[in-house]
Subunit: 328 residues, 4 copies
């Protein structure tokens, strides 16, 4: 349940307000020199600070307790732990009776019979994406591909250069917005992906929807292609290496990478925690009541999610990259 992958296997643990979160990364090839500064750089991209992001800032100090010897990976599982330090726990005690709209409070209480750790979202917290960033950053160092991501839309903002002032306005309204992030992978190999249920896009689908707040995933042109004809949507091959004129398929044919850029677009819903008063059902009082979500939160979590999605994609590719070696 908390483990992803077949050959490159990532196991997560942790809850928002407990002692630590972390991951075990199994399947890293031996002999890889890990550049921890690259990992820290990725973590910085996830960390709050920009307009529209939460004031809870964690140092995210990494403890790698195993899997490295003389600076190189040993082939043994890497364990990376991150302590939860900036924790304020008193904010959350009321969530038992008043499940927040858009959050997992209600379902978690039902599923785990009331024993879940509800503080700060517990295991459902966005904080759990930190070890995903770490594992993905290691994955990228093992792969010959080139990763990037871009925020391509946010709320109803028309001009992306106005993003800071737009988010200030949303903050003042006590509201939140979502958006769409595009992750692109260049220098792809042909052949990654195992039919039927371990296709490249199947694994991307599984992984991306594992990231909190994701409510839509597209490969290539996606839903925007619904009005196109086949003669327009088909990507014409241009050479022996399979390069295509257009890339509506986003680099995936029949579930297998075709060597063109891998393009994945992901919809992040508006942050569920908003500043202004909401109405929702109170389970104890047995009636609809007004309430406010306390705690520190992001107005536009989508602003920090890009590196999470990019590195989540790297984990998928690491798994299928190792898998594809079987055929060589």
């Amino acid at each position: 349940m908390n483990t992803f992958g077949t050959l490159f296997k990532v196991t997560l643990y942790g809850e928002s307000h407990q002692e630590a979160i972390g991951c075990v990364i199994d399947g890293v090839l031996p002999g890889l020199k890990i550049d921890w500064e690259l990992v820290q750089k990725d973590l910085l991209l996830r960390r709050p600070g920009a307009v529209g992001t939460t004031p809870r800032v964690e140092k995210d100090e990494l403890h790698c307790t195993s899997g490295i010897f003389n600076g190189f990976t040993t082939g043994s599982p890497m364990h990376v732990m991150i302590k939860n330090e900036n924790v304020i726990s008193k904010d959350y005690s009321h969530l038992v009776s008043q499940p927040r709209p858009g959050h997992a409070d209600f379902v978690a209480a039902k599923k785990y019979n009331g024993f879940h750790d509800y503080r700060g979202g517990g295991r459902f917290s966005g904080r759990l994406t930190t070890p995903i960033v770490v594992a993905g950053s290691i994955a990228k160092q093992m792969l010959p591909f080139e990763f990037s991501h871009e925020l391509i839309s946010i709320g109803d903002l028309k001009d992306m250069s106005l993003i800071d002032s737009y988010l200030k306005e949303i903050t003042q309204q006590g509201d939140s917005v979502g958006g769409v992030i595009q992750v692109t992978v260049k220098n792809m190999l042909v052949g990654l992906g195992e039919p039927n249920f371990y296709k490249l896009d199947s694994m991307i689908g599984q992984m991306m929807f594992s990231i909190p707040a994701v409510k839509g995933v597209e490969i290539g042109t996606g839903f925007d292609g619904k009005t196109l004809r086949g003669s327009e949507f088909n990507d014409v091959y241009l050479d022996q290496e399979g390069h295509t004129k257009t890339n509506h398929s986003g680099g995936v044919s029949g579930g297998i990478s075709n060597g063109n850029d891998l393009v994945v677009k992901v919809f992040i819903k508006p942050t569920s925690s908003i500043g202004k008063e909401q109405v929702s059902f109170n389970q104890e009082k047995d009636e609809l009541t007004n309430f406010e979500v306390k705690g520190r939160h992001d107005v536009a979590i989508v602003r920090r999610a890009g590196i999470v999605l990019e590195n989540a994609l790297a984990i998928v590719l690491a798994d299928l990259y190792l898998w594809n070696k079987v055929y060589q």
Copy 2:
């Protein structure tokens, strides 16, 4: 690779033009009386016949060789086989040098070193969705939920009552269209889905992208929600059972079913095989050449895909339904 699920496990086999296709369905609860007419009804929905669908019609006669005793499931794996009968194999020999745009010909040749069965798309053929329909139909009989699906858009057609004449026109143009299908599940239980990587939506993502031609998946409102504010997107709880006023989240909170209708929308790309002449790279001649895709194909495969997606979703729910019993 060809097996989906943890407790309700479906293994597929078969290629379009070989002797048979089929599946092994492992994890069906013992003591279930299987209604094979319901399975046949589902298969009929997938079968061609309507305007815009292929003239290759298979009888789809099912051979269930194991797992049933005295009319009830035994708890042992069910094996269901379907023979490939209406096969014309001479159409496909040229695909080795001329990979078709939008198809898996190119990647399959690379990945399997030229040994793949390219006839009719081989293992990548939409024909492989037949055993998915069968397995999902069995899954639905094991589940207390109510499934349905609807074609909510097709190409650039504005008025869905004109679909037949629209597709006739597309056929005459020698072209194809895609569309969007919505699958809805009513009477859902609270609690299905296992964080982090086996969330309900993660499993839906994996499964839906396993279906050929799927290039986008949304849960609930999806990408259309990108311009909404959090105060609009949040689904307000109305009662103790977790019913909500709106259902932007599509019945999934924190990766777990919340008891509201499960709503999944899937984008099916325009059929890659089109009637009219195309240009693409010929690997043997080492140049761009004009060519036509021969064989029999669908102008709008999206018209037949609804039951595939519905039943694929049922397979996902069967797996997570059994899993959730662990907590009871």
Copy 3:
């Protein structure tokens, strides 16, 4: 549950008295020319005929419905089906009230709430080892190793050249015997096996105990080594390739093949079905009663089990062989 392996994946289905048994073999490398006569030869070794084996003889005609094109494997799953033809079903109806000692009748009824197919042992029948022989035979054709097996003890027989007359005697007594089989693999590679839980010996342990009637598994010298000292048991390395003077470790060090012969010894218990009258509890009468096990059975199933164990081992090695390619 009915699927073994990670990269070379075998899924079994079938019950003794239903229409067919079979397997899906997923992960066979593309481009392999399958010699079906070798498969048939292996099946012959499993088939009854020798003194001490059952008179139920099946033709074991194989139907391979997918995964082969132009005589070579395609990389797509192979499905092999074998019909159950020589079935006499009237013998087994009394097993519901009178579970046979040593058989699964009692536990199956409890676990599957009485819905299991009890005829001929149902899914627990030794008949299910036929697809294991088939899958293992395919595995051996993919591997560069040399497999053999030997019956090294049977009952309390001292001189193995007297086996036929010994078993005639046991048959006349209406009794049965067990024995020990040794499987040896020569020309092993160094490096097969993944620590911790996918060690070569871990996978052998899982697989061997999956074969009906197996109640003990040893790697190398095994239990006989319990009186040896470390200075005797340690296998002294003799050269750069890791060849050792002795082979107490049976070719496995730290769970990884060390290049010496892989040696596995397996104890097969005496066949549970015996000719003479037994006493056991009758669940309907609620008392101990005398009864006889009807049907056709083996006096020494161990005589037919060698090829099953050999090929089961080949399945294990195929999986770990593919896995080890990841490191190359």
Copy 4:
């Protein structure tokens, strides 16, 4: 590779001489009150101290960083970390050229291209059994069964009351011995185990051979039953609950627990590291040379292994116990 189980999932990490070892335990039911003193008691049984055990004593202080809230399990993965403190690293640098007989040095160097951490056996060290003891101790607290283990033979010692003086003698000889441990589980339920490859005994086989130094596994009477007849080996049922007169089958019928005591016997080979001089091949000098294994080691690791095997068995049962709930 480092993850065991389907529903109760244990992931190990760590190497003997790195910062820490530990495990992620996924699938613990929510609402369980963990008694850490019981865990510590189990760890004490594994810790050295008795005659014949190593002078490397670790405090084994446990850090549980997640999965517990208000003293109860949350249903989220538990992560337990144990620091490596009593580490002397200078002893092992010569192992690269001089692989020790009986150890994994040779195979690890080949498999991981020389990048493995060879200090103290690295990932192959018996130290990695500590998290198995921890995870098994948690598992036992979740299960209604009663576990125990017994050392039933050690070397060629006839009278087990003389064990201390026997091991002193072996120590003086600079040698080592192995032995046999029996694990017994009482109060078993009927029904644990999933045919075919997830049988109770299959899972036991996988798990037990995952423990370092294990070279043989038996269920019930095992190899000693090879001279028995079927009429003797068959366990006669005595009542409706399936209690049997004898227990040659060790509580497992057809791979499923039958409610009688589960009995597993495991052969632990003589400790490979011995005090006296040995001859083996030196890869650098390219010749056989005399050498001594330095470092601190056990003369009879079998003396400390009982709790490891007992708790390893508990992990297996926890997984199958949760699985069996699916049928209820």
